[in-house]
Symmetry: C2
C-alpha cells in the first residue's frame, strides 16, 4: 500500500479501497471470491472514467427519493459493501432512520459475526444508533435455497424499498419477485442484477452512497422520470464513447 496515504496520488482512491478490503479480509469478513469481484468492479469503474456518470447521478437521486418516501426502507449489506462503504451506509441509514441488514451470499457464522461486530464498532465510532439486523434470521426470501435465503422479518422481509449494492443476480431477482422496489448499485451495466433491479445505479458503491448522504436534502426527481433501459444503455454508451477511435488506424 505504498501510495494509500497520499491523497494526491492518482491511484489514491483505488489503493484506499484495496486497503479497506485487505483489512476486512484479515478480519474474516470476506468470501473467497471477494477480491476477484472487486477486480471486476475496478475494470468497469476504469471504463466509466472512475467518476459518477450523468445517468448514474440521476438514478442516484431517484433512488434516494424512493428511499426517503418508503414506509420500510432497508439497506442490505454484504462483505464487500461493509468493507468498502460501511461508514457511508450507516450514515445513510441514520439519515433515513432505517435499519441496515447484513445479508451475505456465502453465509457462515464466522463471517456473520465478523461483519456484525465490524458494523457495531463503526456505529459507535460514528456516534450513531443505527439498528443493525442480520444476527437473528427468522424468515426466508421465497425462491432461494439454503443459507442465502435467510433474512429478518422486521428487516428485508417487510421492506418496501430495498437498497442492495453488489448483489447476486439470483437474489436480486427473488427480491424483485416479492414486489419490492429493489435499488441496485453495480458497476457492470450488463450484470443480471443491473438488468433485474427496479432502479440501477451504475457507479462505485462508496462514491454513490457518499453522494446520497451529501445530497440528502437536495431537490430530487420523481420515480416516474426514471427509465430503466435508458439508464443501462446510457452507461454502456459512456463506456463506448471512451473506446471509439482511441487508436489511429491506417486507412
Amino acid at each position: 500500500m505504498d501510495h494509500a496515504a497520499d491523497p494526491s496520488h492518482p491511484r489514491y482512491r483505488s489503493l484506499l479501497m484495496r486497503h479497506r478490503l485487505e483489512i476486512a479480509a484479515k478480519k474474516g469478513m470476506l468470501a473467497d471470491s471477494a477480491l476477484i469481484a472487486h477486480g471486476r468492479g475496478e475494470a468497469y469503474d476504469y471504463l466509466i472514467g472512475e467518476q459518477t456518470i450523468e445517468s448514474a447521478d440521476f438514478a442516484t437521486k431517484v433512488a434516494l427519493r424512493c428511499l426517503k418516501e418508503a414506509k420500510h426502507p432497508v439497506l442490505s449489506l454484504n462483505g464487500n459493501v461493509v468493507a468498502l462503504a460501511g461508514d457511508e451506509m450507516l450514515q445513510l441509514a441514520d439519515l433515513l432512520d432505517c435499519p441496515v441488514e447484513v445479508n451475505i451470499f456465502y453465509r457462515t457464522p464466522e463471517r456473520m459475526t465478523a461483519l456484525l461486530s465490524d458494523l457495531d464498532e463503526r456505529n459507535k465510532r460514528l456516534g450513531l444508533g443505527v439498528e443493525i439486523l442480520g444476527a437473528n434470521p427468522d424468515a426466508e426470501i421465497p425462491g432461494l435455497k439454503g443459507p442465502r435465503a435467510k433474512c429478518e422479518s422486521k428487516g428485508i422481509l417487510q421492506s418496501d424499498v430495498l437498497l442492495v449494492p453488489l448483489e447476486d443476480g439470483d437474489r436480486c431477482q427473488a427480491l424483485v419477485a416479492m414486489g419490492k422496489t429493489v435499488i441496485v448499485i453495480d458497476l457492470n451495466p450488463l450484470s443480471r442484477s443491473s438488468q433485474t433491479g427496479t432502479i440501477t445505479i451504475v457507479n462505485e458503491v462508496t462514491r454513490c452512497i457518499a453522494e446520497m448522504v451529501d445530497g440528502f436534502d437536495s431537490d430530487l426527481p420523481s420515480r416516474s422520470d426514471y427509465v430503466h433501459e435508458e439508464t443501462l444503455q446510457a452507461a454502456l454508451d459512456s463506456i463506448i464513447n471512451g473506446m471509439k477511435d482511441r487508436f489511429k488506424t491506417v486507412e
Copy 2:
C-alpha cells in the same frame, strides 16, 4: 468451487481458473494484488465474449512466428501466469526450445521459491526438460529500480524476442526500450502494457498459449502484416459491438 468438476457447466472455465489461483495462493505463489488483477481480467474477458477474437488470433500467429524466428526467445512468467497457464507455458517453451524465466514484480525469496518449485514439478510431471531461469539473477533491466529490475543475463537480458503475459506497464516499457520485440498478452486493450508492447494479444493467457501450442506448425503470417494500433482498436471495437443498442430505449 461447486461446479469446477463439471466441464459442461457454462462457467466451468472461469471456475477452473479461479480454482488454479486458489491453489497457487495456498502455495504462496501470488502477490496480494493477484486476485484483484484476475478479476479485472475476468471483466474484460466477459466483454470480448470469453473467446479469441479475430484480431487476437492474427496477433497470436504473428507473435508465434516472431518467437520461432528469434535467436534467443524467452518466456517471462509471473505468479498469475504460472498459476493459470504454467503447463501451457512450459509446453510452448519446449516446442521453441527456449528457457522460461520467473520474473515477478513483487519479488520476495518466498514467492520465488514457491514459483520455481511449482514449475519444477510441472516440468517433471509433463516429462519436459525446459530450462527454468530466475533463481540466480545476475543482471538488471535498465531504467527500473529495486527487486523488480532483476533478471538473468542468459535469460531476459539477452533475449531478442520476449513473451510477457500480464506484465506491468513500467516494466513492459523498460523492456521495449532495450530494443527487444516484446509480445504482450493482456485482456485490457487500453492498459499501458497493451499500448507499449511491440505485439499485443488481447486474450486470456491460457487460451492464447494453448492456441500457440496447437498451431505451432501451421502457416503463420509475417510481422510486417501486423499493425499495432489497428489490433488494439479492433479489440475495443469488439467490446463496443457487444454494448451497442443492448437495451431498447424509448424514442
